[in-house]
Every structure is written in C-alpha cells, then in structure tokens.
C-alpha cells in the first residue's frame, strides 16, 4: 500500500474469487485491486514519468484484456490518474456506485467486437463516376480546361464526389447493421476517421453468441466483396459501451 498517485485501469464487481492480474501495468507497476462496497478498481502506483510511449498504452490494454478473461470489467479511459487510493474511492467508486453497478449488470457476460471497413478507393471512385451522370459530366468539363481555369468547378466536383462517398458510407453502414445488429445486444456507430473509411462499428455481443456473430461478419465480408476490406477485432472489454462521463464528487444526499 502506498499513498501516492494511482493509475486506474478499470472497475469490476467484487466476486468470490478475487480478481488478480499478473500482467504488469503502466511503468511496469504491479496491479492491485481496491474495494469499496461491492465494487473494485484495478489500479497501480504511478510516477507519471513515462506514459508517453506506446508501451504504456499497450500495458493498459493488456491489463484490461487479462482482467476481462475472468470478470466483466468496465475500462477506464487511458491516462486516468487519481491522487491516491482514497481519491479512487471518493471520486470514482462511491459517487458513482449505483451507475457503475447497473452498467456492470448490463454488460455482464458480454464482449465488444469492433468492425472497420475501408473502401478500395479505385473501385469506389470508379463507381461514383460511372453511376452519377452529374459527376461524370462535370469531370469531363473539368478535364477539358486547364486546371487553374476550373478552380471552382474542381471544388464543386470534389464536393459532389464527397457527397456520393458519404451516401455510400451510409448505405454500407446500414447494410452492415442490418446483417449484424440482430446478432448483437447493442451497436454503436463510431466516427469515420478517414476519407476511405467505409464503416466503423462496435457491437456488444453475448459471449456465447460470438460464433454466430463471426458467421455474420463472414457473410457481410462476402457481400462487400472487393469493394470493402474489413478489419474485425475482438473480443474486447466493452470500451465503447462503458463510454460515459462520471460524476467526480459525491453527491450529498440529504
């Protein structure tokens, strides 16, 4: 037990078998759990000197991965440090006990599966030009004049292509959700991060339904064919479904 700042990885319910994690945490520190009224927080001492490296991000991830093998764990966002153990109880566990317990019940026995799709940009743009007369016409016009003479038309062309890509993204996301949402408890649309991103979805899936979900992803991959390459990651602790802002201070109930 020490009295300095602690790094917080996640929150779980106290169970009969204590949750132990052998993976070393950030700054290679040993992981321990502190309890408060049925809840526990996974923490480690932190000096805060070297959180800059990918090694620390990876440590955060690995600790949560290991802990999630034997319990349902609500991940805390990377880089969360509280002043000491009392701070963990007073700021995290006590004021949010009801909310955390409810969330833990909701996520119990469930995992996150994340699916990202990227367009094959050649196929994508070719389709846009082939299927939109307006784009094709404007493209022909833009090409027939020197670049500097068609500045605003080029912007307009790019805008039209972007709109078409947005539309396709919406359609493809809908197709993915149609196929996969029935196999999941919940789905979340993540932000598209890049112009060639087709979709980015996170699903909450009952652990014992993961095989069916895998089949669904395979089916979807077949439907997308060469157009979209999929990246399928999981099972993960439910990062995207524990993505909430907690109250920092205890509410004084009268």
């Amino acid at each position: 037990m020490s009295d300095g700042p602690v790094y917080v990885y996640g929150v779980a319910a106290v169970a009969k078998t204590p949750l132990s994690v052998s993976t070393r945490g950030v700054e290679a520190a040993r992981i321990r759990a502190i309890e408060d009224d049925g809840l526990l927080a996974l923490i480690s001492d932190v000096r805060g000197e070297s959180l800059a490296t990918a090694r620390e991000v990876r440590a955060h991830w690995r600790v949560l991965d290991e802990a999630s093998e034997s319990a349902t764990v609500l991940p805390v966002r990377f880089g969360t440090v509280l002043e000491d153990e009392d701070g963990v109880r007073a700021r995290l566990l006590e004021p949010n006990a009801e909310r955390l317990k409810e969330l833990l019940r909701e996520l119990d026995g469930r995992v996150q599966l994340t699916l990202k799709g990227d367009y094959d940009e050649q196929l994508l743009l070719r389709q846009v030009v082939e299927e939109s007369d307006a784009v094709a016409r404007l493209r022909d016009r833009v090409r027939s004049v020197p670049a500097e003479a068609a500045y605003y038309e080029r912007i307009r062309l790019g805008e039209m292509v972007a709109a078409q890509v947005d539309q396709r993204r919406a359609e493809d996301t809908r197709m993915a959700l149609e196929t996969l949402e029935p196999l999941a408890v919940a789905a979340r649309e993540e932000d598209a991060t890049r112009p060639d991103a087709a979709l980015s979805l996170s699903f909450l899936v009952d652990r014992d339904r993961v095989p069916q979900f895998n089949d669904g992803v395979r089916k979807l991959a077949t439907r997308f064919g060469d157009r979209i390459s999929l990246r399928y990651v999981g099972p993960l602790p439910p990062y995207s479904f524990a993505d909430i802002q907690l109250d920092p201070e205890a509410v004084a109930w009268a």
Binding site: D118, L124, P248
Partner: protein, 171 residues
C-alpha cells in the same frame, strides 16, 4: 486476448493476434471518464484523439477528390495514386518534410517495440495503412509532447463520446 481478422476480396482470413494499431482508437477514446481526473498529456494524447479525424469537409479535400477522379483513367496502369496517397498528404499537411523525422521516430514508438512486431507479418495493405495513420496522427503530437506528469486541467475527452451514436436495443 483480442484477435483480429481481415478480409481481402470477400473472405476473412484466419484470426491473428491483434496489434496496438487495431485497438488504439478504443483505448484512447472510449471508456469511463472521471471528470476530475488527470489525463496525462503525453504523446499528444489530445491529438491522438482529435488528430486525423479529418472527415471530408474542407475545400482542400474536395480538390483532392477532384484530382483523384480526374486521374482515374491513367490509374488503369498506375494504380498507386488514390486516397491513401491523399490521406498521407492531408494528414501530414504542409509540414510533411519537416515532420518526417519525427514521424519515423513516433512510428517506431507506436508500432515498433516489443510484441507489436507480431502484427507486422500478415497485415498487408490495410495494416500499413493503419500504421501510417497512427504515425501521421502522432506526428503532429510530437511537436507538443511534454514530459513529466502534468497535473493538467480537465481534458476535453468527453466530447468524443457524445459523437458516437448509441443504437442500443433492448436486451
């Protein structure tokens, strides 16, 4: 243990261990947020979260799109020009040459050390894409990364969570 699979041409390859690049988005952007916490502002974490999420919005991007469709015919025999190239120039912007050294350095940091090598094998094109994304994201962060535990003020990370739309079903 997280696994990741990847589809090329309509089928999913067998599962393989995932690298940090596959999960970095959720680790940095998702999870419980304690308002009064200290979120260490190293490797430009703020930038990693805001960073390259340039969705199609700027005039600059429109112009690049226009160029890309204009090039399509040529692209029959020269398929190397397209959105990935554009992404590179969009994300690294005008400072490309200046930041190149830093990009390489951060790239090593993000993807190079210890067990992350496991995903350098069968990752092919989309792997290198996400890799370069991670590196170009952090490139902008490198300029402002500091060291030491900064007991910084509250972060703005709450905003990203509100952007992801919940589509919860009854369970």
């Amino acid at each position: 243990m997280a696994i990741a699979t990847q589809s090329r041409g309509g089928y999913l390859e067998r599962p393989r261990p995932s690298g940090l690049a596959d999960v970095i988005d959720v680790i940095l952007d998702k999870g419980l947020v304690i308002d009064a916490y200290v979120r260490v502002s190293l490797i430009g974490i703020e930038l990693l979260t805001i960073d390259a999420r340039i969705v199609i919005a700027s005039v600059d991007t429109y112009l690049r799109f226009a160029e890309a469709v204009n090039r399509l015919d040529i692209a029959h025999d020269d398929t190397q020009h397209g959105l990935p190239d554009l992404m590179e120039s969009i994300t690294s912007g005008g400072a490309e040459s200046k930041t190149k050294g830093a990009i390489e350095g951060i790239k090593d940091k993000l993807t190079g050390d210890d067990d992350d090598d496991e995903d350098s094998g069968g990752q092919q094109s989309s792997g290198s894409r996400s890799r370069s994304r991670a590196s170009s994201r952090s490139s902008s962060g490198s300029s402002r990364s500091s060291s030491g535990s900064s007991r910084s003020s509250r972060s703005s990370s709450g905003s990203s969570s509100s952007r992801s739309r919940s589509r919860k079903k009854s369970s």
